[in-house]
């Protein structure tokens, strides 16, 4: 196996039990350098828990996680992370560039010594996410999309090999979301950084997503979109008949014809909520 194709992340049979509930069951998938992977699932499917597992913040009950071939650890410099729903108070005395700087050395003790090299690196990261225009603005006064870009710069400045983004599109309007997706695809292609991005809706990611990890109730199917987003694969994952429809370049997952009655009704909420939109 060449080092180029060694997976940057491999999740092998991971299970997590929280307060007696199985949040993740036998989840396995791998991510290679520079790959753009979507982690798709409805709310409560286990996406955030899976991120916490990869970050080393969540204890697993089974399985293992390897980052670049080694067991996961806390503060792994190979992983950058952008958390969900990040909205700061406008009064927070912190400029966009300050937050990016904290991505570089926020875990170190003491006060950052300003240097030309540090400043140049921060400027470079701000430029990489097209954030120079508001580099000196208070972070809390920026729009959701702008804050998202600053957070990506915050995560990128430590030169990670894998970038995790938890629902980065959740609070954005469509154009801002498309901008962020295009930016991430560019970063993956240009810098060879693998990207794992969670979303409850796969359509905005379809143009750039190379692989998909589809989570339903803590169980996962993974592979290329063609391999996973299929009627038979998803029906097995959901444990009942669903149908994958392709309409005008969009993918819809709907409850299948054979799945009527009470049982379907019980699950209709999350299922329809997953992919039927727009």
């Amino acid at each position: 196996m060449t080092s180029e194709r060694q997976p940057i992340l491999s999740v092998e049979g991971v299970g997590v039990r929280l307060a007696g509930r199985e949040v993740l069951r036998e989840v396995s998938f791998g991510i290679c350098p520079g790959e753009f992977t979507g982690l798709i699932g409805s709310n409560g499917a286990g996406k955030t828990t899976l991120f916490r597992v990869i970050l080393g913040l969540q204890v697993t009950t089974s399985g293992k996680v390897l980052v670049a071939g080694r067991p996961r650890s806390r503060r792994n410099p190979l992983i950058g992370y952008v958390p969900q729903k990040f909205l700061l108070d406008p009064d927070m005395p912190l400029r966009a560039r300050d937050l990016v700087g904290l991505g570089l050395d926020g875990h170190r003790f003491g006060i950052a010594r300003p240097s030309r090299a540090r400043r140049a690196l921060i400027d470079e990261m701000l430029a990489a996410v097209d954030a120079e225009r508001f580099a000196d603005a208070r972070i809390g006064t920026l729009s959701g999309g702008e804050q998202q870009r600053v957070l990506i710069a915050h995560a990128l400045i430590s030169r990670p090999k894998l970038l995790l983004l938890d629902e980065p599109l959740a609070n954005l309007d469509l154009p801002s979301g498309q901008e962020v997706v295009a930016l991430l695809a560019r970063i993956a292609a240009e810098q060879g950084i693998a990207i794992l991005i969670s979303a409850h809706e796969m359509n905005p990611l379809l143009p750039v997503m190379e692989r998909i990890v589809y989570l339903v109730d803590g169980r996962a199917a993974s592979g290329t979109t063609e391999e996973v987003v299929r009627t038979d694969v998803l029906s097995e994952l959901y444990g009942r008949q669903v149908e994958v429809l392709h309409i005008h370049g969009r993918v819809l997952v709907v409850a299948g014809p054979g799945d009527g009655g009470e049982a379907a009704h019980e699950h209709a909420g999350p299922l329809v909520g997953v992919q039927i939109v727009q």
Binding site: L55, P93, L94, I111
Partner: protein, 305 residues
């Protein structure tokens, strides 16, 4: 003394050792309070600061009762209370108010007892007022070494923790993802806050101490965009308000109605409050400008009023 400044500084101001101690200790305390206060406001822990201050009443009255300097009492009880808050769960968003409130209630009950015992045992009736509202001109010079030491401890904690503390104050999630032990950092910060509150309690009183922690910081947050600059501004505002308060209180010995001097705390807190109000004026103006932009054409176009 310069004739021009004579009306400002009443005679004897600079030669009075009481004033000198007040200026020195008050200045150190305000520096520390301003620095710590910026994090208090960023972390949304103003209520915890207020509670730690109020709890100081218990320590201060206990110190009077056993006859040691009140600063010892303030610091001891404040640190113990901070530990109790941490243990009950101040770092969980929902546990925060609860932890603070429970510890506060328990401690103030003790304060009631101590103040009662002290009042019945002693002819000295000023203790309650000194504890609650401060005694800037009653600080013995023997307290200076302890005050300096405590100030250095607080400054040391903030300086060493600066970056991890800043990142975990911005977002605990981001900090945790960087491998920062968020809980331990928060606990150490709470210790620094407890000591700073105790120092402030000594100068302007237990129930006013939060004003010196939160007030200058809140004002500084309105004026600056950078955390370091906010801390510098908050410290300067705090020191300025404290020193001006001392000058005015000294001058007020010559003022009506009683010719006995007005309380320093009154001046310090009022100046801080006035500065906070003033610092809001530019923002108010900006907001009005922003708000008026979309409104103006709509009113002109529809005229439905």
């Amino acid at each position: 003394m310069n004739d021009f400044l004579a009306p400002v500084f009443e005679s004897g101001f600079f030669t009075s050792s009481t004033v000198q101690v007040a200026l020195l200790v008050g200045g150190i305390v305000a520096l520390v309070a301003g620095t710590v206060g910026v994090f208090t406001v960023m972390r949304g822990q103003s209520f915890a600061a207020e509670a730690l201050g109020d709890i100081g009443t218990t320590g201060g009255s206990g110190a009077y009762l056993i006859g040691v300097g009140p600063l010892w009492g303030f610091v001891a009880i404040s640190v113990v209370a901070a530990g109790a808050m941490e243990a009950i769960g101040i770092q969980r968003p929902r546990g925060r108010d609860l932890a603070t409130g429970i510890v506060l209630g328990a401690a103030l009950g003790l304060a009631a007892l101590f103040l009662y015992l002290y009042a019945t045992q002693s002819a000295h009736t000023g203790a309650t007022v000194s504890i609650l509202f401060g005694a800037m001109f009653d600080i013995p010079s023997s307290t200076i070494p302890l005050a300096v030491l405590l100030g250095l401890i607080v400054a040391g904690i903030v300086a060493v923790l600066y970056r991890p503390l800043l990142l975990s104050s911005v977002s605990a999630e981001l900090a945790a993802a960087r491998g920062i032990p968020v809980r331990a950092v928060g606990a150490l910060y709470l210790l620094a806050l407890a000591i700073a509150v105790a120092l402030a309690a000594m100068t302007i009183g237990t129930i006013l101490s939060t004003a010196l922690i939160v007030g200058p910081a809140a004002t500084a947050l309105r004026l600056t965009r950078r955390p370091g600059a906010a801390m510098l501004a908050a410290s300067l505002i705090g020191v300025g308000a404290t020193w001006l308060g001392i000058v005015l209180a000294y001058d007020s010995y010559a003022w009506p109605p009683v010719h006995h001097g007005w309380p320093v705390s009154f001046f310090v807190v009022t100046i801080i409050f006035a500065l906070y109000l003033l610092s809001g004026v530019p923002g108010l103006w900006q907001r009005r400008r922003v708000a008026s932009r979309p409104v103006a054409p709509a009113v002109a176009g529809t005229g439905d009023r």
